[in-house]
């Protein structure tokens, strides 16, 4: 319980339950205010829904557990687990794995978008949003914008842990920021896969299961942890077509201050494709869910 709430409940206890009945005359005058503001823009309603997501974080700070503790554990675990075996030492491995583990942390967390949406739908609050005269995708876009803030927190935490254990990116601050931006663009697009899942599956558990199943080959069958050169041919073929590999290569290049190659175009292409396909599928199911 936050201090905010403690004071609120203390005040409530101090003032005996005042006559808190609704007043017909005041309701009538509230109704009589026939003010009909101009219909807000798509951007404005999306940002308002993003604000809602941040308010929820304020009231339920535990929501930040997955974006703070989880990346720390993953970074430390993978760096020290593989560091010695793969690169000889942690200090050498960190340069290779830091951008990869950043990508892994953030993409893994994106699946919570799906479970959160399912919970919202089940509670009925989405009925209210869907009955409003607003740009239809805005509750979902707003939610993903709010999530972008969570992803940013995860990125900062992961980067901080990597820096603390010896990561010195060649690309400097600007390179790291550019890498994170590319990652956030891809994460936002991947979010539409989970929103679609949450509209066709009935429970948060089922969404989690399917999302993990999809994420496993994407994250582990990639160049996040090791150079694919040592892998058997069939796995190399998969790693090659895996969009996460291109994303990781791109993020690595930006953070290491190297010239980014075709990976930028490929990653942005995938992002656009995901939004086009799964954004459309999501909106199609959104009209008539369940």
């Amino acid at each position: 319980m936050t201090t905010d709430e403690t004071t609120a409940s203390a005040t409530m206890a101090a003032t005996p339950e005042a006559p808190a009945a609704p007043q017909a005359s005041a309701i009538a005058s509230a109704l009589a205010s026939t003010e009909r503001p101009q219909r807000p823009s798509a951007l404005s309603t999306s940002v308002t829904f993003g604000w809602r997501a941040l308010l929820k974080i304020k009231h339920v700070p535990e929501q930040l557990f997955d974006v703070t503790v989880f990346p720390v554990v993953m970074t430390l675990l993978f760096t020290y687990l593989f560091g010695g075996a793969i690169a000889g030492s942690v200090s050498e491995y960190i340069a290779y794995i830091a951008p990869g583990v950043l990508v892994q942390s953030v993409l893994f967390i994106t699946m919570y978008t799906g479970t959160t949406l399912r919970t919202d739908i089940d509670k009925g609050v989405f009925d209210r949003f869907r009955s409003l005269p607003i740009w239809r995708p805005s509750p979902l876009v707003g939610m993903l914008l709010g999530d972008a803030v969570r992803f940013m927190v995860a990125s900062i935490v992961t980067a901080a842990v990597c820096l603390a254990i010896g990561w010195r990116p060649e690309g400097g601050f600007v390179g790291v920021v550019l890498g994170v931006i590319l990652l956030l663009v891809f994460a936002f697009s991947l979010g539409w896969v989970w929103t679609f899942l949450s509209l066709i599956l009935r429970t948060p558990g089922a969404i989690m299961g399917v999302a993990s199943f999809v994420l496993m080959p994407l994250l582990f069958g990639s160049n996040i942890f090791v150079d694919p050169a040592t892998m058997p041919g069939w796995l190399q073929a998969w790693v090659d077509v895996n969009p996460v590999s291109d994303l990781v290569t791109g993020v690595r290049a930006l953070m290491n201050g190297e010239e980014i190659g075709s990976e930028l175009a490929i990653t942005l292409g995938w992002a656009a494709g995901l939004v086009a396909v799964f954004g459309s599928l999501t909106m199609w199911k959104y009209r008539d869910p369940r």
Binding site: M12, P19, I27, H59, G124, R128, S131
Partner: protein, 321 residues
């Protein structure tokens, strides 16, 4: 404004094998309260969700305030509001934040949204709870914030899905007062309920719905006339008097008098309440002592029994008169 608030033709919604709504025709005038009465699972919520453009009908057509719910859904949405059966506000946010959120989504500036939210919280008796999370509200308060959120911009038509289910009597009366205040102002309200007495209290006209079909429509008085004025339950003091008491009731009430399991009990479906007083006086005159008697309002069960020949799933408590 001559056009109807709601007009539907053959509205159908199926979920798998179930025809949740099975061909509903409605013609509801503007103004006042229209009640949708039926047991759980009758299709009330599904029908309302179609009319509020939340789900799409599988067949049939409907206009709300003159706009087609399919082709002109956006026009419908900007004129109606919905208070769902379950919390239709965000339980993690405070009452104030919820109302500001809705106001901003309607296009209010940040300042105007705060002012509107304050006015509404005050009007609904929630000012003291403005900065508390809605999940900490009582059932009655939660329902009030739900309704307040529905009138952030005054709707022409308000859908209320079972607004008093699960509320204590005091909160229920408060919700009723709110609905009356809105109707006095001129808002059209469409209300679903499982309770005959709620429909009786509020609704000008009632559609009785069962298994996705409308099985009766009319005013509360008309519906009740179809089931008589309720049930008379009598318990004689001495079981030996029961047959004599039955003879007197048969004569005075001019309706059939049933003999329940209870060896001292008698029940009769009443058509004319006036006769009950005479019947009780006659029992007294004959020296038959009564342990107890009660005259119940016709219940939803009785309405259903008489309309469909089978009892409703949800039973309603009888009101002792």
């Amino acid at each position: 404004m001559a056009e109807l608030a709601i007009e539907t033709h053959g509205l159908v919604k199926t979920y798998g094998e179930t025809r949740a709504v099975d061909g509903i025709d409605l013609a509801i005038a503007r103004g006042g309260v229209h009640g949708f009465l039926g047991p759980n699972g009758a299709g009330k919520t599904t029908a309302i969700r179609m009319l509020a453009t939340l789900i799409r009908p599988d067949a049939g057509s409907a206009t709300v305030l003159g706009y087609d719910i399919g082709r002109q859904a956006d026009e419908v949405r900007s004129r109606v509001a919905l208070t769902g059966q379950f919390a239709s506000v965000d339980e993690d946010l405070t009452g104030m934040e919820n109302l500001r959120l809705i106001a901003k989504l309607y296009g209010y500036s940040a300042k105007a949204a705060t002012r509107r939210a304050e006015d509404l919280l005050e009007a609904f008796g929630l000012a003291a709870a403005a900065s508390r999370q809605v999940k900490k509200y009582s059932g009655g308060m939660r329902r009030r914030i739900d309704i307040a959120a529905s009138i952030v911009v005054t709707p022409e038509l308000l859908f209320l899905d079972e607004p008093t289910t699960g509320l204590d009597p005091r909160s229920r009366n408060e919700v009723w007062d709110i609905i009356r205040a809105m109707v006095d102002y001129g808002t059209t309200v469409m209300l679903t309920t499982q309770y005959l007495d709620e429909a009786d209290q509020l609704a000008d006209r009632i559609s009785v719905i069962d298994a996705g079909k409308i099985i009766a429509e009319g005013t509360a008085t008309e519906l009740k006339a179809s089931v008589g004025s309720g049930m008379l339950h009598v318990r004689v003091m001495d079981r030996a008097d029961r047959d004599a008491a039955r003879e007197i009731l048969l004569r005075e009430l001019v309706v059939d008098v049933d003999i329940p399991q209870d060896p001292q009990g008698l029940t009769a479906q009443i058509e004319d309440r006036g006769r009950v007083t005479r019947a009780l006086t006659a029992l007294d005159d004959a020296g038959i002592g009564l342990a107890q008697f009660s005259l119940g309002q016709p219940t939803l069960d009785e309405v259903f029994l008489s309309l469909t020949g089978k009892p409703a799933e949800a039973t309603d408590e009888e009101e002792a008169a």
